[in-house]
Subunit: 238 residues, 2 copies
Protein backbone atom coordinates (compact mmCIF):
# COMPACT_ATOMS: atom_id res chain seq x y z
CA UNK A 1 0.00 0.00 0.00
CA UNK A 2 2.54 2.56 1.11
CA UNK A 3 4.71 1.66 -1.83
CA UNK A 4 1.88 2.62 -4.13
CA UNK A 5 2.33 6.25 -3.32
CA UNK A 6 4.45 7.81 -5.95
CA UNK A 7 6.40 10.86 -6.41
CA UNK A 8 6.00 12.43 -9.73
CA UNK A 9 7.53 15.06 -11.90
CA UNK A 10 5.55 18.23 -12.01
CA UNK A 11 5.53 20.72 -14.84
CA UNK A 12 3.77 23.90 -15.78
CA UNK A 13 2.41 24.59 -19.25
CA UNK A 14 1.36 28.01 -20.44
CA UNK A 15 -1.38 28.86 -22.89
CA UNK A 16 -0.45 32.35 -24.06
CA UNK A 17 -3.17 34.10 -26.02
CA UNK A 18 -2.68 36.77 -28.63
CA UNK A 19 -5.07 38.56 -30.95
CA UNK A 20 -4.40 39.70 -34.50
CA UNK A 21 -7.57 41.76 -35.07
CA UNK A 22 -9.25 38.72 -36.53
CA UNK A 23 -8.88 35.73 -34.30
CA UNK A 24 -7.25 34.45 -31.16
CA UNK A 25 -3.83 32.90 -31.47
CA UNK A 26 -1.72 30.83 -29.14
CA UNK A 27 2.01 30.97 -28.74
CA UNK A 28 3.59 27.58 -29.41
CA UNK A 29 7.19 26.49 -29.35
CA UNK A 30 9.20 24.04 -31.33
CA UNK A 31 9.82 20.87 -29.41
CA UNK A 32 13.59 20.78 -29.38
CA UNK A 33 15.62 17.63 -29.49
CA UNK A 34 13.12 16.11 -31.83
CA UNK A 35 14.83 16.83 -35.14
CA UNK A 36 13.17 13.90 -36.82
CA UNK A 37 9.66 15.18 -36.22
CA UNK A 38 10.55 18.69 -37.25
CA UNK A 39 7.13 20.22 -37.19
CA UNK A 40 6.30 19.25 -33.67
CA UNK A 41 4.91 22.26 -31.85
CA UNK A 42 3.88 22.28 -28.22
CA UNK A 43 2.84 24.54 -25.38
CA UNK A 44 5.72 26.30 -23.68
CA UNK A 45 6.36 24.70 -20.33
CA UNK A 46 8.94 23.37 -17.95
CA UNK A 47 9.48 21.06 -15.07
CA UNK A 48 9.48 23.01 -11.84
CA UNK A 49 12.68 23.64 -9.98
CA UNK A 50 13.50 22.72 -6.47
CA UNK A 51 12.16 25.35 -4.13
CA UNK A 52 10.07 26.93 -6.84
CA UNK A 53 6.34 27.56 -6.55
CA UNK A 54 4.27 26.64 -9.61
CA UNK A 55 3.30 30.28 -10.14
CA UNK A 56 6.97 31.19 -10.20
CA UNK A 57 7.72 28.38 -12.61
CA UNK A 58 5.06 29.69 -14.96
CA UNK A 59 6.51 33.21 -14.68
CA UNK A 60 9.92 31.80 -15.48
CA UNK A 61 8.65 29.98 -18.55
CA UNK A 62 6.98 33.16 -19.77
CA UNK A 63 10.08 35.24 -19.14
CA UNK A 64 12.26 32.80 -21.04
CA UNK A 65 9.72 32.70 -23.83
CA UNK A 66 9.00 36.39 -24.26
CA UNK A 67 11.52 38.38 -22.29
CA UNK A 68 8.65 39.96 -20.37
CA UNK A 69 8.74 40.08 -16.61
CA UNK A 70 5.70 39.49 -14.47
CA UNK A 71 3.12 38.84 -17.14
CA UNK A 72 -0.49 38.49 -16.09
CA UNK A 73 -1.16 34.86 -15.60
CA UNK A 74 -3.71 32.59 -14.04
CA UNK A 75 -3.51 29.00 -12.97
CA UNK A 76 -6.51 27.16 -14.27
CA UNK A 77 -6.22 23.41 -14.01
CA UNK A 78 -4.03 20.54 -13.01
CA UNK A 79 -3.87 17.79 -15.63
CA UNK A 80 -2.87 14.49 -14.16
CA UNK A 81 -4.24 11.64 -16.22
CA UNK A 82 -1.85 8.71 -15.86
CA UNK A 83 -2.03 8.33 -19.65
CA UNK A 84 -1.14 11.87 -20.53
CA UNK A 85 2.55 11.22 -21.07
CA UNK A 86 2.69 7.66 -22.22
CA UNK A 87 2.80 7.96 -25.99
CA UNK A 88 6.14 6.48 -27.10
CA UNK A 89 7.32 9.63 -28.84
CA UNK A 90 6.48 11.75 -25.81
CA UNK A 91 8.31 9.43 -23.44
CA UNK A 92 11.29 9.42 -25.74
CA UNK A 93 11.32 13.19 -25.85
CA UNK A 94 11.13 13.43 -22.06
CA UNK A 95 14.10 11.10 -21.74
CA UNK A 96 16.15 13.08 -24.22
CA UNK A 97 15.24 16.42 -22.78
CA UNK A 98 15.48 15.85 -19.07
CA UNK A 99 17.81 12.83 -18.86
CA UNK A 100 15.88 11.65 -15.93
CA UNK A 101 13.75 8.62 -15.57
CA UNK A 102 10.34 10.19 -15.63
CA UNK A 103 7.73 7.68 -14.72
CA UNK A 104 4.89 10.09 -14.55
CA UNK A 105 4.36 13.70 -15.45
CA UNK A 106 1.66 15.91 -14.04
CA UNK A 107 1.18 19.45 -15.24
CA UNK A 108 -0.39 22.60 -13.93
CA UNK A 109 -1.81 24.70 -16.75
CA UNK A 110 -1.69 28.49 -16.89
CA UNK A 111 -3.39 31.12 -18.98
CA UNK A 112 -1.53 34.21 -20.06
CA UNK A 113 -1.84 37.04 -22.54
CA UNK A 114 0.46 38.90 -24.86
CA UNK A 115 0.17 41.60 -27.49
CA UNK A 116 0.69 39.64 -30.67
CA UNK A 117 2.96 42.18 -32.34
CA UNK A 118 5.20 42.52 -29.34
CA UNK A 119 8.80 41.70 -30.07
CA UNK A 120 9.65 38.57 -28.17
CA UNK A 121 13.19 38.21 -26.94
CA UNK A 122 13.49 34.53 -26.65
CA UNK A 123 16.16 33.92 -24.03
CA UNK A 124 15.39 30.29 -23.59
CA UNK A 125 16.05 26.83 -24.74
CA UNK A 126 13.36 27.19 -27.38
CA UNK A 127 14.57 27.35 -30.95
CA UNK A 128 11.53 29.15 -32.13
CA UNK A 129 8.11 30.24 -31.08
CA UNK A 130 5.15 30.77 -33.31
CA UNK A 131 1.68 32.26 -33.08
CA UNK A 132 -0.93 29.74 -34.22
CA UNK A 133 -4.58 30.64 -34.77
CA UNK A 134 -6.80 28.65 -32.45
CA UNK A 135 -8.92 27.61 -35.40
CA UNK A 136 -5.97 25.84 -36.94
CA UNK A 137 -3.83 24.29 -34.27
CA UNK A 138 -1.47 21.44 -35.02
CA UNK A 139 -1.70 18.15 -33.24
CA UNK A 140 0.42 18.58 -30.15
CA UNK A 141 2.21 16.21 -27.80
CA UNK A 142 0.85 15.02 -24.46
CA UNK A 143 -2.62 16.38 -23.79
CA UNK A 144 -1.75 19.88 -24.98
CA UNK A 145 -4.69 20.00 -27.38
CA UNK A 146 -7.02 19.24 -24.51
CA UNK A 147 -5.35 21.87 -22.32
CA UNK A 148 -5.89 24.49 -25.00
CA UNK A 149 -9.50 23.45 -25.43
CA UNK A 150 -10.24 23.97 -21.76
CA UNK A 151 -8.30 27.23 -21.71
CA UNK A 152 -10.86 28.70 -24.08
CA UNK A 153 -13.67 28.52 -21.57
CA UNK A 154 -11.28 29.84 -18.94
CA UNK A 155 -10.37 32.96 -20.84
CA UNK A 156 -14.05 33.85 -21.14
CA UNK A 157 -14.54 33.54 -17.41
CA UNK A 158 -11.45 35.54 -16.78
CA UNK A 159 -12.48 38.41 -19.03
CA UNK A 160 -15.91 38.41 -17.45
CA UNK A 161 -14.44 38.80 -13.98
CA UNK A 162 -11.72 41.21 -15.00
CA UNK A 163 -12.11 43.31 -18.13
CA UNK A 164 -8.62 44.65 -17.81
CA UNK A 165 -7.16 41.48 -19.26
CA UNK A 166 -8.81 42.22 -22.61
CA UNK A 167 -6.48 45.17 -22.96
CA UNK A 168 -3.45 42.95 -22.53
CA UNK A 169 -4.30 41.64 -25.98
CA UNK A 170 -4.63 45.01 -27.71
CA UNK A 171 -2.14 47.78 -28.49
CA UNK A 172 -1.99 50.61 -25.97
CA UNK A 173 -4.00 52.71 -28.39
CA UNK A 174 -6.85 50.82 -29.91
CA UNK A 175 -10.14 51.48 -31.65
CA UNK A 176 -13.55 50.36 -30.48
CA UNK A 177 -13.68 48.22 -33.56
CA UNK A 178 -10.58 46.30 -32.48
CA UNK A 179 -12.01 45.76 -29.04
CA UNK A 180 -15.26 44.67 -30.62
CA UNK A 181 -13.56 42.12 -32.82
CA UNK A 182 -11.67 40.83 -29.80
CA UNK A 183 -14.89 40.24 -27.90
CA UNK A 184 -16.45 38.54 -30.89
CA UNK A 185 -13.42 36.27 -31.11
CA UNK A 186 -13.38 35.45 -27.41
CA UNK A 187 -17.08 34.70 -27.20
CA UNK A 188 -17.22 33.30 -30.72
CA UNK A 189 -20.43 35.11 -31.58
CA UNK A 190 -21.68 38.29 -33.20
CA UNK A 191 -22.07 41.25 -30.85
CA UNK A 192 -24.23 44.21 -31.82
CA UNK A 193 -21.93 47.14 -32.45
CA UNK A 194 -24.28 49.83 -31.16
CA UNK A 195 -24.86 48.07 -27.88
CA UNK A 196 -21.14 47.49 -27.70
CA UNK A 197 -20.40 51.21 -28.07
CA UNK A 198 -22.82 51.92 -25.26
CA UNK A 199 -21.22 49.32 -23.03
CA UNK A 200 -17.75 50.72 -23.59
CA UNK A 201 -18.89 54.28 -23.10
CA UNK A 202 -20.13 53.24 -19.67
CA UNK A 203 -16.67 52.07 -18.66
CA UNK A 204 -14.91 54.91 -16.94
CA UNK A 205 -11.49 53.50 -17.55
CA UNK A 206 -11.67 53.27 -21.32
CA UNK A 207 -10.71 56.75 -22.34
CA UNK A 208 -11.22 58.35 -25.75
CA UNK A 209 -8.14 60.13 -27.13
CA UNK A 210 -8.03 63.08 -29.49
CA UNK A 211 -6.05 60.99 -31.90
CA UNK A 212 -7.56 59.25 -34.90
CA UNK A 213 -6.50 56.72 -37.47
CA UNK A 214 -4.58 58.11 -40.45
CA UNK A 215 -4.35 56.94 -44.02
CA UNK A 216 -7.25 54.53 -43.90
CA UNK A 217 -9.56 54.27 -46.87
CA UNK A 218 -12.64 55.06 -44.87
CA UNK A 219 -13.74 57.22 -42.02
CA UNK A 220 -10.95 57.31 -39.45
CA UNK A 221 -11.68 55.67 -36.13
CA UNK A 222 -10.96 57.27 -32.82
CA UNK A 223 -8.28 55.79 -30.60
CA UNK A 224 -8.90 54.89 -27.00
CA UNK A 225 -6.68 53.91 -24.13
CA UNK A 226 -7.30 51.87 -21.02
CA UNK A 227 -6.37 53.41 -17.70
CA UNK A 228 -5.07 50.42 -15.80
CA UNK A 229 -4.27 52.31 -12.61
CA UNK A 230 -7.64 53.93 -12.24
CA UNK A 231 -9.25 50.57 -13.01
CA UNK A 232 -7.27 48.79 -10.32
CA UNK A 233 -7.97 51.52 -7.80
CA UNK A 234 -11.67 51.34 -8.54
CA UNK A 235 -11.57 47.56 -8.23
CA UNK A 236 -9.92 47.80 -4.82
CA UNK A 237 -12.50 50.10 -3.38
CA UNK A 238 -15.45 47.97 -4.49
Amino acid sequence: MKTNFIHTHLSVDCVVFGFDDKQLHILLVQRNGGENNANSLKLPGSLIYEGEDVDDAAQRVLLELTGIKRMKLKQFHCFASPDRANKPEDMKWLDQTYRSNINRLITVAYLSLCKIDRKLTNVSKYKASKWCPISDLPEMPFDHNQIVASSLTEIRNWIEHDISIAFELLPNKFTISQLHRLYEAVYDKKIDIRNFHKKIAALNDVIPLDEKQEGVAHRAARYYKFDKHSYNKRKMTI
Copy 2:
Protein backbone atom coordinates in the same frame (compact mmCIF):
# COMPACT_ATOMS: atom_id res chain seq x y z
CA MET B 1 20.63 23.02 -14.09
CA LYS B 2 19.06 19.68 -14.94
CA THR B 3 19.69 18.51 -11.44
CA ASN B 4 17.55 21.34 -10.18
CA PHE B 5 14.44 19.72 -11.56
CA ILE B 6 12.77 17.85 -8.82
CA HIS B 7 10.22 15.25 -8.45
CA THR B 8 7.79 15.84 -5.75
CA HIS B 9 5.09 14.13 -3.83
CA LEU B 10 1.62 15.11 -4.90
CA SER B 11 -1.47 14.99 -2.74
CA VAL B 12 -5.10 15.94 -2.96
CA ASP B 13 -6.95 17.72 -0.17
CA CYS B 14 -10.71 18.01 -0.01
CA VAL B 15 -12.77 20.84 1.42
CA VAL B 16 -16.14 19.22 2.08
CA PHE B 17 -18.90 21.68 2.85
CA GLY B 18 -21.98 20.98 4.90
CA PHE B 19 -24.81 23.20 6.10
CA ASP B 20 -26.65 22.98 9.41
CA ASP B 21 -29.44 25.52 8.72
CA LYS B 22 -27.33 28.24 10.27
CA GLN B 23 -23.87 28.24 8.81
CA LEU B 24 -21.47 26.45 6.55
CA HIS B 25 -19.34 23.74 8.04
CA ILE B 26 -16.31 21.86 6.83
CA LEU B 27 -15.50 18.24 7.40
CA LEU B 28 -12.15 17.85 9.11
CA VAL B 29 -10.29 14.77 10.23
CA GLN B 30 -8.03 13.95 13.10
CA ARG B 31 -4.45 13.87 12.08
CA ASN B 32 -3.51 10.36 13.05
CA GLY B 33 -0.13 9.36 14.34
CA GLY B 34 0.08 12.62 16.16
CA GLU B 35 -0.95 11.46 19.61
CA ASN B 36 0.97 14.20 21.30
CA ASN B 37 -0.87 17.03 19.58
CA ALA B 38 -4.23 15.41 20.10
CA ASN B 39 -6.43 18.18 18.86
CA SER B 40 -4.82 18.48 15.49
CA LEU B 41 -7.50 18.59 12.82
CA LYS B 42 -6.78 18.81 9.12
CA LEU B 43 -8.42 18.58 5.74
CA PRO B 44 -8.97 15.04 4.54
CA GLY B 45 -6.45 14.19 1.87
CA SER B 46 -3.99 11.67 0.57
CA LEU B 47 -0.96 11.26 -1.56
CA ILE B 48 -1.94 10.04 -5.00
CA TYR B 49 -1.33 6.47 -6.06
CA GLU B 50 0.65 5.26 -8.95
CA GLY B 51 -1.52 5.31 -12.05
CA GLU B 52 -4.18 7.40 -10.34
CA ASP B 53 -5.53 10.65 -11.71
CA VAL B 54 -5.95 13.47 -9.20
CA ASP B 55 -9.72 13.47 -9.67
CA ASP B 56 -9.77 9.78 -8.83
CA ALA B 57 -7.60 10.35 -5.80
CA ALA B 58 -10.04 12.96 -4.53
CA GLN B 59 -12.95 10.57 -5.12
CA ARG B 60 -11.07 7.91 -3.20
CA VAL B 61 -10.45 10.24 -0.27
CA LEU B 62 -14.12 11.15 -0.18
CA LEU B 63 -15.22 7.55 -0.41
CA GLU B 64 -12.92 6.58 2.45
CA LEU B 65 -14.12 9.54 4.44
CA THR B 66 -17.86 9.26 3.93
CA GLY B 67 -18.66 5.92 2.33
CA ILE B 68 -20.29 7.80 -0.55
CA LYS B 69 -19.39 6.93 -4.10
CA ARG B 70 -18.98 9.52 -6.80
CA MET B 71 -19.65 12.64 -4.82
CA LYS B 72 -19.85 15.92 -6.69
CA LEU B 73 -16.45 17.47 -6.62
CA LYS B 74 -14.48 20.17 -8.29
CA GLN B 75 -10.79 20.77 -8.54
CA PHE B 76 -10.06 24.37 -7.73
CA HIS B 77 -6.41 25.08 -7.14
CA CYS B 78 -2.96 23.64 -6.93
CA PHE B 79 -1.02 24.79 -3.87
CA ALA B 80 2.70 24.48 -4.33
CA SER B 81 4.50 26.96 -2.17
CA PRO B 82 7.88 25.49 -1.28
CA ASP B 83 7.20 26.53 2.30
CA ARG B 84 3.85 24.87 2.64
CA ALA B 85 5.16 21.72 4.27
CA ASN B 86 8.21 22.83 6.11
CA LYS B 87 6.95 23.39 9.62
CA PRO B 88 8.80 20.89 11.84
CA GLU B 89 5.65 19.24 13.17
CA ASP B 90 4.27 18.83 9.65
CA MET B 91 7.49 17.27 8.39
CA LYS B 92 7.57 14.93 11.33
CA TRP B 93 3.99 13.88 10.67
CA LEU B 94 4.72 13.23 7.01
CA ASP B 95 7.65 11.04 7.94
CA GLN B 96 5.61 9.06 10.43
CA THR B 97 2.65 8.66 8.14
CA TYR B 98 4.22 7.86 4.82
CA ARG B 99 7.61 6.48 5.87
CA SER B 100 9.07 8.01 2.81
CA ASN B 101 11.52 10.78 2.51
CA ILE B 102 9.28 13.59 1.39
CA ASN B 103 11.33 16.56 0.36
CA ARG B 104 8.45 18.53 -1.02
CA LEU B 105 4.69 18.20 -1.06
CA ILE B 106 2.39 19.82 -3.53
CA THR B 107 -1.35 19.51 -3.25
CA VAL B 108 -4.33 19.85 -5.51
CA ALA B 109 -7.35 21.14 -3.64
CA TYR B 110 -10.92 20.00 -4.24
CA LEU B 111 -14.32 21.28 -3.25
CA SER B 112 -17.09 18.90 -2.36
CA LEU B 113 -20.46 18.92 -0.66
CA CYS B 114 -22.29 16.71 1.77
CA LYS B 115 -25.58 16.77 3.62
CA ILE B 116 -24.46 17.47 7.15
CA ASP B 117 -26.76 14.95 8.81
CA ARG B 118 -25.77 12.14 6.50
CA LYS B 119 -24.40 9.13 8.30
CA LEU B 120 -20.77 8.82 7.35
CA THR B 121 -19.32 5.36 7.20
CA ASN B 122 -15.72 6.06 7.73
CA VAL B 123 -13.87 3.19 6.06
CA SER B 124 -10.53 4.83 6.17
CA LYS B 125 -7.42 5.41 8.10
CA TYR B 126 -9.04 8.37 9.82
CA LYS B 127 -9.84 7.91 13.46
CA ALA B 128 -12.56 10.50 13.44
CA SER B 129 -14.07 13.18 11.34
CA LYS B 130 -15.79 16.27 12.57
CA TRP B 131 -17.91 19.06 11.14
CA CYS B 132 -16.45 22.45 12.02
CA PRO B 133 -18.24 25.74 11.41
CA ILE B 134 -16.27 27.92 9.03
CA SER B 135 -16.52 30.80 11.46
CA ASP B 136 -14.61 28.82 14.04
CA LEU B 137 -11.97 26.70 12.41
CA PRO B 138 -8.96 25.45 14.32
CA GLU B 139 -5.46 26.23 13.24
CA MET B 140 -4.60 23.48 10.79
CA PRO B 141 -1.35 22.01 9.51
CA PHE B 142 0.32 22.94 6.24
CA ASP B 143 -1.56 25.67 4.40
CA HIS B 144 -4.96 24.12 5.06
CA ASN B 145 -6.36 27.33 6.53
CA GLN B 146 -5.41 29.15 3.38
CA ILE B 147 -6.94 26.41 1.23
CA VAL B 148 -10.22 26.72 3.09
CA ALA B 149 -10.18 30.49 2.74
CA SER B 150 -9.87 30.29 -1.02
CA SER B 151 -12.49 27.54 -1.20
CA LEU B 152 -15.07 30.02 0.06
CA THR B 153 -14.88 32.21 -3.01
CA GLU B 154 -14.91 29.05 -5.12
CA ILE B 155 -18.12 27.71 -3.69
CA ARG B 156 -19.87 30.96 -4.58
CA ASN B 157 -18.71 30.76 -8.16
CA TRP B 158 -19.72 27.15 -8.32
CA ILE B 159 -23.25 27.77 -7.05
CA GLU B 160 -23.61 30.67 -9.45
CA HIS B 161 -22.74 28.47 -12.41
CA ASP B 162 -24.66 25.45 -11.22
CA ILE B 163 -27.52 25.88 -8.77
CA SER B 164 -27.93 22.15 -8.40
CA ILE B 165 -24.99 21.98 -6.05
CA ALA B 166 -26.92 24.02 -3.46
CA PHE B 167 -29.26 21.07 -3.07
CA GLU B 168 -26.36 18.77 -2.27
CA LEU B 169 -26.22 20.63 1.02
CA LEU B 170 -29.91 20.35 1.91
CA PRO B 171 -32.14 17.39 2.75
CA ASN B 172 -34.13 15.96 -0.15
CA LYS B 173 -37.18 17.71 1.22
CA PHE B 174 -36.46 21.23 2.27
CA THR B 175 -38.25 24.48 2.94
CA ILE B 176 -37.68 27.76 1.14
CA SER B 177 -36.50 29.10 4.43
CA GLN B 178 -33.70 26.52 4.61
CA LEU B 179 -32.63 27.33 1.08
CA HIS B 180 -32.76 31.00 1.95
CA ARG B 181 -30.54 30.57 4.96
CA LEU B 182 -28.13 28.54 2.85
CA TYR B 183 -27.82 31.35 0.32
CA GLU B 184 -27.34 33.88 3.07
CA ALA B 185 -24.57 31.74 4.53
CA VAL B 186 -22.84 31.17 1.20
CA TYR B 187 -22.91 34.82 0.16
CA ASP B 188 -22.55 36.06 3.71
CA LYS B 189 -25.21 38.74 3.35
CA LYS B 190 -28.90 39.32 3.92
CA ILE B 191 -31.16 38.39 1.03
CA ASP B 192 -34.70 39.78 0.83
CA ILE B 193 -37.08 36.91 1.48
CA ARG B 194 -39.84 38.07 -0.87
CA ASN B 195 -37.50 38.47 -3.81
CA PHE B 196 -36.03 35.12 -2.91
CA HIS B 197 -39.42 33.44 -3.09
CA LYS B 198 -39.95 34.95 -6.52
CA LYS B 199 -36.58 33.75 -7.70
CA ILE B 200 -37.20 30.21 -6.53
CA ALA B 201 -40.70 30.16 -7.99
CA ALA B 202 -39.13 30.93 -11.36
CA LEU B 203 -36.96 27.81 -11.18
CA ASN B 204 -38.79 25.01 -12.90
CA ASP B 205 -36.85 22.31 -11.14
CA VAL B 206 -37.63 23.33 -7.57
CA ILE B 207 -40.94 21.64 -7.07
CA PRO B 208 -43.44 22.35 -4.26
CA LEU B 209 -44.75 19.25 -2.50
CA ASP B 210 -48.11 18.80 -0.82
CA GLU B 211 -46.31 18.02 2.39
CA LYS B 212 -45.75 20.53 5.17
CA GLN B 213 -43.82 20.75 8.36
CA GLU B 214 -45.44 19.18 11.41
CA GLY B 215 -45.19 20.00 15.07
CA VAL B 216 -43.62 23.40 14.69
CA ALA B 217 -44.68 26.24 16.94
CA HIS B 218 -45.61 28.50 14.06
CA ARG B 219 -47.19 28.33 10.64
CA ALA B 220 -45.95 25.15 8.95
CA ALA B 221 -43.68 25.63 5.96
CA ARG B 222 -44.18 23.84 2.68
CA TYR B 223 -41.61 21.30 1.60
CA TYR B 224 -39.97 21.42 -1.80
CA LYS B 225 -37.80 19.02 -3.73
CA PHE B 226 -35.25 19.56 -6.44
CA ASP B 227 -35.65 17.57 -9.65
CA LYS B 228 -32.05 16.80 -10.51
CA HIS B 229 -32.83 14.87 -13.67
CA SER B 230 -35.02 17.50 -15.24
CA TYR B 231 -32.43 20.12 -14.28
CA ASN B 232 -29.61 18.20 -15.94
CA LYS B 233 -31.68 17.59 -19.05
CA ARG B 234 -32.53 21.25 -19.26
CA LYS B 235 -28.90 22.15 -18.78
CA MET B 236 -27.86 19.88 -21.61
CA THR B 237 -30.21 21.42 -24.11
CA ILE B 238 -29.14 24.96 -23.38
